[in-house]
Each structure stands twice: as C-alpha cells, then as structure tokens.
C-alpha cells in the first residue's frame, strides 16, 4: 500500500469519527442549559407540566449525551492509533489540555448525569437542580478545553521548541490564542442554534401528531425564541470570526472566497466552480469589489490571493462550497426563526405547513455546524498544527489493510447508531400522542412518562 493512500484512509477515518462525534455535543452543550431552564421553571412554579417537559427532554439529552460520550472516547484513542506524530511533536501542549478536559469535565458530567437521571427521588430538589447545572457546566468546560486545543492548532502561540518537540512556554497564551475567543463563541452559539432547532423541530413533530399538546406548544415556542435571538448574534460573531481568520490565516480566507491571485478591489464570488488546475473560477457569478468591501471595509482594499501562500494552501472547492452551505443554512435559519417567532407571538399554534417546515429543519444545525467545521479544519491544511506540523508527517505506521478493517467497522457502527438515534428520537417525540384525546388532562396527571 502506498503511504499516500494510507494517509488518505487515515484522514477519511478521522473525518468520519469527528463528523459523527460533533453531531452530539453540538446538541448537548446547549441542550444541557435548556434543561437547566426547564428544571428551574419547575422548581419555581412546581407545575407538573414543566416536570414532564424536563423529563422528556432529559431522555433525549441522555441518549444524545451517550452517543457523544462513546464517540468521544473513540476520538481520544485516534491520536495514538492513527496520528502518533501529533503527540510526539506537540504532546507537551496537547496532552495537558486533553488531560484537563478529562479531569475537570468528563468525570463531572458523567457522575452528575447519574444523579440527574436517576436521583430525583433520592436527593433534595436543590441538589437535583445543582446536578443539572453541573452537567451543563461539564459539557461547556469540555468544549472550552477542546476548542482551546483546536484554536492553538489553528493559530499557535505561547510555545517554544526543544529537541524537535514543542514545549509550552506560556499557558495563558496557549489557552487564549488569537482565534480562541471567536471560535469558542461561534461554537457555543452554533450549539445553541442546533439545540433550539432540535427542540422546535421535535415539538413541531409532536404537535402534528397531537395538536392540543400544550407542553409541546410551549417547547416549540421556547425553541423558536431561542433560535430567533441567537441566529442574528451568530451572524455577527461569524463575521468577526472571519475577520480574525483573515488576520491570522489569510490563506484560508483566500480559499473560502476563491481568490486565486492577490488583487485590489477583489470581487465577491457568489457562485463558481473553482478550477484547481487552472487556478481560476469557472462559471462564476460575482459582485464587483464585494470581497474587498466585506473583508477590508474598503472598495479597493487589497486581498491576498492563494498565489501568495503557495504551495502551502488548502484545497479551494471544499472551503468555497462548505462556507456557502454554512452561510446559506444560517440565513434560512434566521428567516425561519424570525418568521416563526412572529407567528407564535400570541401563544397560538402555528399552521400545519409551518410545523412541517420546523420539523424538516430539526437537524438544520447539524448541516451548518458540519459545513463550518469542514471549512475551518480543511482550511488548516496542509498543516495539522499551523506552521509546526504537517498532517502527512503525523500519520502513523498502521497499514492499509488494518485501516480498511477499522474504517469499515466504524462505518457500520456509525450507520447503525445514527439510524437508531433518529428512529428513537422521532419515536420519543411522537410517543403517546394518539393515546388520549385530551392532552390538557394528561398534563394534569403529571409525571406518567
């Protein structure tokens, strides 16, 4: 087997692992805080309806969390099994960050999840609420550490070099690299939007089956309102993140905008087929000077093209299309959440077609989040750690046959898990809908879940 092919397989496997993994944290990071909200409302009002809402969404959270945990463990093993060069070179920085994630986040969330799921009748109410908060804090802390590591890999600072190995010099700088505040905020909001659309989408699905379910109507509103508030903030933060990237990783921006050559007054390419071989765009639709205006806030601002950074440039097509997919989905999410917020403003259940639309948008956050991560991670290539370690130099000695076996096992397992997850989620959302004609009465009965 050619080493090039083994490298490609190893990268495909990592991409599969991380793409599968991120689906679940992108829901749970924010859903955990939404659960805190439901749990607090129950604590304050004592209403059985809030308790029922909390219990239903706790089930969905527990399932999603379990998917995230197990796929996350798989991720943590990937460093050693497939990318030993990563730890050999930057282990002195990456190791402690990963260790702190385990120590401060994993144990916390795993332990208090048990109390949160099964301890309601065993601990006082305030302790149960505290457990819910600690689980949410754990998921957010976990995101903090892993995004700190990712940001350091994108824009490394605060380190030195000793005998071919990276050595930490200033941990504060390593934690708060130039791209970290933007990346963390962007991801946290992405999770908020993803979770909000999951809540709204599954509630809409529920309302299609049980139109008078007041709990579902309430969670639909909650999801829509959260999305409507977060979506425009995300657009602003995303723009700031882009400007930050232009400053620290200009090659990535050049690939996103498909700017092949450095120019003043660069056009904004709305659509094109990037032609990697000829280094130009085919069939492009452009707004003259648009890119310069957006990125430099000047009509004839200079934008560096890919020629400036060659040969260390990322592939253009996945970044170009990935970015447009993310932004396009984001625009749709803003439009839908605002329109939805307008329609539910008086507490009325929206019309059927709108419920169907929200149900169809249940996992819209996944599309945008995945597209965004593809842009930022492929945009880092050919580097694994920008300027320090090339992806090709980190890959391990595992041969093609073993890689083929592992990749096949992962594909089968992930397909099974994802299919089962979607089946069970729709099942949970629709469960019991046909059993009673009087949902309001069912709510009054309380906790029969």
């Amino acid at each position: 087997m050619e080493t090039g092919e083994a490298l490609l397989l190893a990268r495909a496997q990592f991409a599969l692992n991380i793409s599968f993994h991120i689906l679940f944290p992108s829901i749970t990071i924010a859903l955990a805080w939404i659960l805190v909200y439901f749990r607090t409302r129950y604590a304050l009002t004592g209403e059985a309806a809030w308790l029922e809402t909390y219990k239903l969404w706790t089930k969905i959270f527990a399932l999603t969390f379990a998917m995230g945990v197990v796929s996350g463990v798989v991720m943590s093993f990937q460093f050693g099994t497939n990318w030993p060069g990563f730890m050999n070179t930057v282990g002195n920085v990456a190791g402690p960050l990963l260790a702190f994630e385990v120590l401060t986040a994993f144990f916390l969330e795993a332990t208090f999840l048990g109390v949160m799921l099964f301890g309601m009748n065993r601990v006082p109410g305030w302790m149960h609420l505290t457990s819910t908060v600690l689980v949410a804090a754990g998921t957010t802390l976990s995101a903090f550490w892993i995004l700190a590591l990712n940001s350091w890999m994108q824009t490394p600072v605060g380190h030195g070099m000793s005998e071919g190995q990276i050595v930490a010099a200033d941990w504060w700088q390593i934690l708060f690299t130039p791209s970290f505040p933007y990346r963390f905020t962007h991801m946290f909001l992405a999770s908020g939007l993803t979770a909000a659309f999951v809540v709204a989408g599954l509630s809409a699905w529920r309302l299609l089956k049980a139109p008078r379910d007041t709990a579902a109507a309430r969670t639909l509103r909650a999801g829509i309102v959260i999305a409507a508030v977060l979506a425009p903030v995300q657009a602003f933060v995303g723009d700031q993140h882009g400007l930050n990237t232009l400053e620290h990783q200009p090659a990535k921006i050049a690939a996103i905008e498909a700017i092949w050559k450095t120019e003043r007054g660069a056009p904004l390419v709305l659509f094109a087929i990037p032609n990697e071989k000829e280094q130009r765009n085919d069939f492009s639709i452009e707004i003259p000077r648009g890119a310069s205006l957006i990125l430099t806030h000047s009509l004839d601002g200079e934008l560096k093209g890919l020629d400036e950074f060659a040969p260390d440039v990322p592939p253009v097509a996945p970044l170009f299309f990935g970015f447009r997919l993310m932004v396009g989905m984001g625009v749709l999410m803003i439009a839908l959440s605002w329109y939805g917020a307008w329609r539910v403003r008086n507490g009325v259940v929206p019309p059927q077609w709108l419920l169907w639309t929200f149900a169809a948008f249940t996992f819209s956050g996944w599309v945008a989040t995945l597209a965004g991560w593809y842009v930022t991670e492929i945009g880092r290539q050919p580097w694994l750690v920008t300027g320090i370690l090339r992806t090709a130099d980190a890959v391990g000695p595992v041969g093609g046959a073993q890689l083929g076996a592992s990749l096949t096992s992962y594909i089968i397992t992930y397909t099974l898990l994802l299919a089962a997850y979607l089946v069970v989620l729709t099942h949970l959302a629709g469960k019991g809908a046909g059993e009673t004609g009087a949902p309001a009465g069912r709510l009054a009965k309380g906790v029969a879940a």
Partner: protein
Amino acid sequence: MSLDLPVIFTILMGAAILAYVILDGYDLGVAMLMPAATADEQERMVASIGPFWDANQTWLVLGVGLLLVAFPAAHGIVMTALYLPVIAMLVGLMLRGVSFEFRVKAEGWQREMWHWLLWFGSFVMAAAQGLMLASYITGFESGFGYFLFGLVVAGGVCGGYVLLGATWLIWRTDGTLQRKAVAWTHWGLLWVAVGIAFVSLATPIVSETVYHKWFDFPRTLALMLLPLATGAAWVWIWRTASAVRRGTATLDWLPFVGAVALFVLSFAGLAYSLFPYVVMDRMTIWEAAAHPSSLKVVLVGALVVLPFIVGYTIYAYRVFRGKAPASLYER
C-alpha cells in the same frame, strides 16, 4: 530534592487503570452475566449499574490520557501496535454505552436487539482488553503461540470481570437473584483460579524479562507473598459468598471487597513484571517521558482536581447506596 516525575506519573497512570479495571470491571461483568438471568432479573441487574457505568468508563479515558500526557513517545507505539484490539474494544464500548439508553427507548425487535448488544458490547470490550494486555506484556510479539496466550488472557479477564460483577450483585441485590449471584461467584472463582494459574505460569515462559524478575533467589521467596495473598483472597471470596447464601452473613459487601483485593494483587504482580518498562523490553518510563514543564502543570492540576473527583464519586455512590431497585428507567 527533585521529583522523579516519570515515576509519579507511572503511579498515577497505574492508579487510574486499576480504578478503571475494578469499576468498569464490575459493570462489564454484570452485563456479561445477563444471559444467565430472567428478564426481571436483567432489569434489576442493569438498574444496579445504570447510574455508575459512565463515570466508571471515564477512568479508562483518564488512564489512556495520562499515558498520552506523560509518555507521548510510548503512547503512539502502544496504540499503533494494539491497533485492531483497540478498534474492537472501541466498537464494543460504543455499542455497550448507547445500549443502556436504547434498550429502554427503542420498541419491539429493536429493544431486543439493544438488549443483546449491551451484553455483546460488554463481552467484546472485556475480551479485547484481555488481548491487549497479553500483547502488551509480551512486547507486541506476534505468532500462533502468542495468539493462544492472548486468548487465554482474554478468557481470564472475562472471568475476572464476571467475578467482580457477580460479587457486586451479591452486594446490590437480594432474593433469588442474590442466590444466583453466589453461584455465579463460585463459578467465576473456579474460572479465575484456572486463569490466574495459567497466566502466572505462561507469562514467565513467553517473556524472558518476566522470568528473570520472578525467579531470582532469594527474592523469589519474598515475592511468593503475592500468590499466597491472592490465594487467601480467593478463599475469602468463596467463604463470604457461601455465608451470604446461608444467611449467616449480614455483610453482603465482603465478597466484592475480596474480588477487589484479587484484582489489586494481580495488578501488583503485573506492575512488578513490567516496571520500569512502559513499552516492554523496549522503552522505559524515563525514556518515554514528556517534558517536565508539561508534567508539572498536569501534576498540579491533577492534585487539585482529583480530590474533588473522588469526593463527588463517593457522593454518587452514597446517593445510590443499598439494594438496587427493580428498575431504574421510566418507559
């Protein structure tokens, strides 16, 4: 006096792995015993481990994380050499972990499928860990003899986990299930006796390093305390379990303590065989260690955070103390 950081981290890593083997060992063992129980009993068995398995499994992530942090050079060698069993373990780990949730949330045949996958995933995890251990002790040698040795160790690890699981059930259940658990404990003990004897004899044969460490008179005489203590723990488990069945013992957690002791002793023997290698016969802990600046940061962090982890772990075990309920999950 300067700290010998690699030694400290070896102890930390060893402690994390031992904690993992004992804690996840009992819940894997309980799941592996499920085919021997009735449907109602199975429900209660899962209820006895439901609140704990996730945190238990986290000790594995910490153990491997410490290997990665403290001995990055060894981490890559170990993980790539153990590639296939690691992948098998991870697939098992995924299936087992999500099955806890799916088996109560899915419907019809799917529920049945997840029920079996909980057993299957646990079994694959345990067996794969045995294969990894065998390969690790022998310095990743390959060949038919080593493969057989791997199968034997895998069988031993499964048996050990089943013993932990059975004694856990003696502690956490009562009635018919508890009596069954006593029988399982006795069967597990017989299995483990064969397993430990075989592995103890085979390891010096397949590894010259281990041979020289153990058969070096007069040190051998002192070392013989270890097998003697192991034998004592074995008898202790047998007798305390029998006492629970006869109803003469009120301390139903004694067999579990004995099983933990058995694991600690086996682990000590293993640690003695390996030290100071982190990659058997190839790389010592000092050769593989990470830069001191990074080790210090993690050490300080671990010393601050670990007491909290131990504290809230004890809290969670207190919250869910006593006999397990018939079922934990609302449907």
